[in-house]
Symmetry: C2
Subunit: 270 residues, 2 copies
């Protein structure tokens, strides 16, 4: 808290409060998901109980779990999910890693996808660094049946991304992201900024609480930073494909992706 307090002061916020308990009940979250009417339920950070998977499936939802290594994909398959999302090291946002440490589990998409495809019988969804039609065709070549794109949609008109975050993504280079625990207490890839550099020094004495405590601790800071347009305090999650981010409507992006897939297929066909 002592390390974080000056940032709160800088944004005109009251002193930060160390959360002792964070009210995230799995049951309440699952109930909301079951009532959502969604057609797919995708989760990360581990496994969910078999009873939950069965309840979701009874509502007609496809259930997807996130793996960052082959062992995680095998654990997900054994848990009864319908498909595995293979999350490569390029991916923005939180790492789904749940078996080994986050640093060990940063496998690039090009290497991860075929190794997961060979290991599991389930359909594999590729994620990490996929930003356009070239990436989609590449992921299919590696054996994925679908892709998951995050950063590519962050800068779409409909995304609700704060203006400072959006501008930072559109200006960023591929070597300006890093995996950090500074914002949430869990490893996540985002644009390097002042808060990340100053709080996550990589030394053992980093004053970073475990997730979800650090997440709750920094929430007021992130909210105020978004409202005040201060990108140096935003958790600006983004993947390594940032130079390919485009500012447009989601519909226009989808049309562009379809056209790029066709162009790519034509280019590589012999």
């Amino acid at each position: 808290v002592r390390r974080i307090a000056p940032y709160f002061a800088e944004l005109g916020l009251p002193c930060p409060v160390v959360p002792t308990r964070v009210g995230e009940s799995f049951e309440a979250q699952l109930e909301a998901a079951l009532d959502s009417g969604a057609s797919a339920f995708s989760f990360t950070f581990g496994l969910v109980p078999q009873a939950a998977i069965e309840a979701l499936r009874r509502r007609g939802m496809v259930v997807l779990g996130t793996a960052t290594t082959v062992d995680e994909a095998l654990a997900l398959e054994a848990s009864g999910v319908d498909a595995v999302v293979a999350q490569g090291s390029e991916a923005g946002g939180h790492r789904g890693t749940f078996l080994r440490d986050a640093r060990t589990s940063q496998i690039g998409t090009m290497a991860l996808v075929p190794q997961v495809v060979d290991a599991v019988k389930l359909p594999v969804v590729a994620s990490g660094g996929i930003m356009d039609g070239r990436g989609i065709v590449a992921a299919r070549a590696l054996g994925a049946v679908a892709v998951q794109m995050g950063t590519a949609f962050l800068t779409c008109d409909e995304a609700g991304t704060p203006a400072a975050y959006r501008a930072a993504v559109l200006a960023a280079r591929e070597d300006e992201t890093r995996v950090t625990r500074a914002y949430s207490g869990r490893a996540a890839r985002g644009l390097v900024n002042r808060f990340m550099r100053e709080v996550d020094t990589g030394r053992d004495d980093d004053p970073i609480l475990p997730y979800p405590l650090q997440n709750a601790l920094t929430r007021p800071l992130r909210a105020a930073a978004a409202a005040q347009g201060r990108s140096e305090f935003l958790s600006a999650w983004a993947g390594q494909g940032v130079r390919l981010a485009r500012s447009r409507s989601a519909a226009d992006l989808m049309i562009a992706l379809a056209r790029e897939i066709e162009e790519t297929e034509t280019r590589i066909a012999r």
Copy 2:
């Protein structure tokens, strides 16, 4: 030296000697390359002088430089090379990084290749995590005109890979490699083993000399380890695609790759 000496003793070697100068003359190396009769000259760790590029080209060689970021690709293009090798973070062996630090410059192949392709006019060769026909087709989809494969050929009969190294690669998993400076003083990806864990602790007081001094210092250790089949002291460079390594002749691997390329193209064609 004090940190390294016990390993020398364990392998029955005389005490290690700190090299003060390492005799690697660029001119002598270039002379050997010019006389080699090779059809391509590929380099890493930076740029080579324009006069050298011109001399190589006069001998009919295609000149390729290695980039781990877009800025490095642009610098190589400006230096006059014929093509750029985009080295993704999955790649085994030494990182070609020469503009920023090695940690910042670990961009996954899926993200790096299209961003380099968009930035330069030169042909781009993809490397990092490409182990079979699926990877080759994926790299072409991303915009590469060719691929460079290292780990895939390490376990071929003709490779000259020491037996202990070969066995370690064939047994390794995708999450058992790491980028380390322990063996050579320069960042390189290899299989995690005892020497790497004990010497490269990630702390600031790591007793690692700069390249090529550390490389010369550890050379007798690596040679003795290879001779004695002690894989814990080998610099077992390997990429993150290790689960896909196959033990066969190079000719059989080439035939398999050609077949897999066709299978992949057929699978993704609609």
